[in-house]
Symmetry: C2
Subunit: 131 residues, 2 copies
Amino acid sequence: MDLLTQKNIRATTFRKEVLAVFLEHDYAISINTIEKSIGKHDRITLYRTIKTFIEKGILHEVLIPNEEKKLAMCQSECSSDGHQHDHIHFKCEACEEVYCKEVDRVPQLQLEGFKVKSIEINASGICEKCG
Amino acid sequence: MDLLTQKNIRATTFRKEVLAVFLEHDYAISINTIEKSIGKHDRITLYRTIKTFIEKGILHEVLIPNEEKKLAMCQSECSSDGHQHDHIHFKCEACEEVYCKEVDRVPQLQLEGFKVKSIEINASGICEKCG
DNA sequence: ATTTAAAACGCAACATTGTTGCAATTATTT
DNA sequence: AAATAATTGCAACAATGTTGCGTTTTAAAT
């Protein structure tokens, strides 16, 4: 049973094609990159596909200040009920790619007077391949 | 000596007006909010002003997945040479505002094989005012 | 296997967000 | 006060994202 059926959405040709692009990359990619990777395509359908994928917990947005919006695949724990990530985003200053890195324990945070429920981390530096 | 002169840019009427909007808020605001706050204005000039402010270390972008881009003021340590933030972004699920919160110590991160140089944190939960 | 109903697609048209070039204006320097 | 350099405002455009609607595809039901 493939990921799409598993997430309760129809496994159409187009969706499988888009998903394949993500599976080919181990880092976050932009909508532009997707558009270049799939052949003939409809921009509107792509936007709708991405929106659906985000809602269903297949993709998540990766936002780094002053950069183009990127997308990456979620872990299996994400669903329409919500995203649940035990990973951080790591931008390599050398190859410029943004990787999702699973971590054993996401650092916790204490804020006087604030009730912290979730935490999202974007780090940068030099990645494994470039280091 | 005002902030603009301090950062080596001309203290024009327009820039002072934009800066005033940020000083009125203790949370991150969208370009839309700025546009509504300043009276007569030119969209293009506003975009250029924001770009300059970011370059000069006066503002920084605050990006939360699936949300409108927001901007907030930097601490004094930021300059054209780079941004240096000892704070995190906190989105309140109740009032929906995003606050920049200074922290004593930004949590550190170990990543096998990766050289972590900087780290940026977006947390969410309930803020002081709503808690 | 065929029918049927729901979901997804593709097109057109549009809304929003952000950029570039250039002439006119404003702020600083001499 | 004049000269110089930075900033502004306009027009035009580029990029990004959305909505409505008729057609096609998918999955389920006969």
